[in-house]
């Protein structure tokens, strides 16, 4: 049987694409080598946040957030969706100026936010260190527990007729619509979508994608002392414009009373073990903002790898030079937020309907590592 769409990878991106395609009545199959949602999706923080480094990031994250908001009541309670809002924390006047800039920009895109003075900030988050300059509050942002949300999306797709094949490790794909599995089977589809996260490079050579390591730590359950997701405004500088190792203060209150503490970013470290000096730096940073953390006990710390492109925007669209072979990956540190927007965009492109967002900034063809003719041959030669 030939299906309309064969999706490789059941992380949050593959699951969102599957659901969006199934909702359009397409016949969908999802291939997962391991356990659905156990890749990068299980390692992430689940902060649903609008980032504004560039217009394309803003457009996709804003659309993604709006779609989660619209579906929050359909999510199972274990997805722990909470509209706790985000506080962007400013340490000094320079960062307060950044908060003001951000507010103006967000307002231009119809997004509400409030500037908090130092006093207002202290009243709404008394656990924060004294002496911060203020904050920008984004009231409608939220957090959720990514693996549950991801599996819920997959189950929605299945309810619409999509079929999940487990233990289905893909060895190679080609533009003839063929997929070879490591157990020797060959499957066929009108369209193949590679949504295999960091492993996508194995299937599509020349893919401009690099794993960007991150570390998180979660505490025991305590009475709630933090009420918003707290992020330092310096985050923008340390996390997005810097390619070296970096840490930034980022704390999320979980529905359980636990605090999820982040975050770090590292290229060129493929070891999934903890980097203790960097973890120490990350926690020291967190304690600068929340001195009370020192008295809490950690429950667990882990690492994850963000699938990062050179411009930090995802790859959504056809593999350049190909007809049947598509990409849905490269979501770096924002894939939970942008999953639903990405699924929708890709389903629109597949069905030749006009997407609500301009798809060009996410088109894989924007990178000149590809040349129009080579990928098809390269894909066949290198992986089949």
């Amino acid at each position: 049987m030939t299906v309309d769409v064969l999706i490789i990878g059941a992380g949050i991106i593959g699951s969102a694409v599957a659901e969006a395609c199934a909702r359009r009545g397409l016949c969908v199959q999802v291939l997962e080598a391991g356990i659905p949602a156990a890749g990068t999706t299980a390692a992430g923080m689940g902060h649903l946040v609008v980032l504004d480094d560039n217009p394309a990031e803003l457009a996709l994250s804003r659309d993604g957030l709006a779609r989660w908001q619209a579906r929050q009541h359909a999510l199972p309670s274990q997805a722990e969706y909470r509209a706790c809002g985000t506080l962007w924390l400013a340490r000094d006047d320079e960062e307060m100026a950044e908060a003001e800039r951000k507010q103006i920009l967000l307002r231009q895109h119809g997004l509400d936010s409030q500037l908090l003075t130092a006093d207002e900030l202290r009243r709404c988050e008394p656990a924060l260190v004294n002496g911060l300059a203020g904050a920008l509050r984004r009231p409608d942002e939220a957090v959720l527990y990514p693996p549950v949300a991801s599996r819920w999306l997959l189950s929605q797709a299945e309810a619409l007729g999509a079929v999940l094949l487990r233990n289905a490790e893909v060895n190679c794909v080609n533009d003839e619509g063929e997929v070879s599995l490591s157990d020797g089977r060959t499957l066929r589809a009108a369209n193949i979508i590679v949504a295999a996260g960091n492993q996508s490079t194995r299937l599509v050579p020349g893919l401009p994608l690099k794993p960007r390591k991150g570390q998180l730590l979660i505490t025991e359950r305590y009475p709630a002392t933090v009420h918003h997701q707290l992020v330092e405004l310096g985050y923008i500088r340390s996390a997005h414009t810097n390619d070296g190792d970096s840490v930034a203060f980022n704390v999320q209150p979980r529905a359980t009373g636990q605090l999820l503490i982040g975050s770090s970013r590292q290229y060129n470290d493929l070891d999934s073990g903890l980097n203790w000096p960097l973890l120490q730096r990350m926690l020291a940073r967190a304690c600068e903002y929340l001195p009370g953390l020192l008295a809490l006990q950690a429950l667990r710390s882990w690492t994850g790898f963000r699938p990062a492109t050179p411009d930090k925007l995802p790859l959504l669209g056809r593999v350049p030079g190909c007809q049947r072979l598509w990409l849905a990956t490269g979501h770096e540190g924002l894939g939970i937020t942008t999953a639903l927007a990405s699924g929708e965009l890709l389903a629109d492109l597949l069905c030749n309907t006009r997407p609500s967002l301009d798809p060009h900034p996410y088109d894989p063809a924007r990178f000149d590592t590809w040349t129009a003719a080579t990928p098809i041959q390269a894909v066949e030669a290198a992986t089949c």
């Binding site: 025991e220 359950r221 305590y222 359980t256 008295a295 006990q297």
Partner: protein, 77 residues
């Protein structure tokens, strides 16, 4: 020698030098997040099953704490 500790609001006399887990042995203890009863298991600080709140500090491992005069212990965190 006996010393006094406060357990869930009641003062108790216990032998000095024993661990807090020994005081709690056999008494109903903490409940897990899903409501299951919990009690000390490993006795050596590894499993975290024996957690109690001591002097206002949650998640203290009873098996690792010798009793102290005046210690205030709450069993359910």
């Amino acid at each position: 020698m006996l010393i006094r500790i406060e357990l869930d609001g009641t003062v108790r006399q216990v032998p000095s030098g024993i661990s807090l887990a020994a005081v709690l042995a056999g008494l109903p203890g903490r409940r897990s997040a899903s409501g299951e009863p919990r009690a000390a298991l490993c006795g050596m600080g590894v499993c975290f099953e024996c957690r109690v709140t001591v002097d206002g500090q949650p998640h203290q491992r009873a098996c690792q704490l010798p009793v102290r005069e005046g210690m205030v212990v709450q069993r359910d965190v």
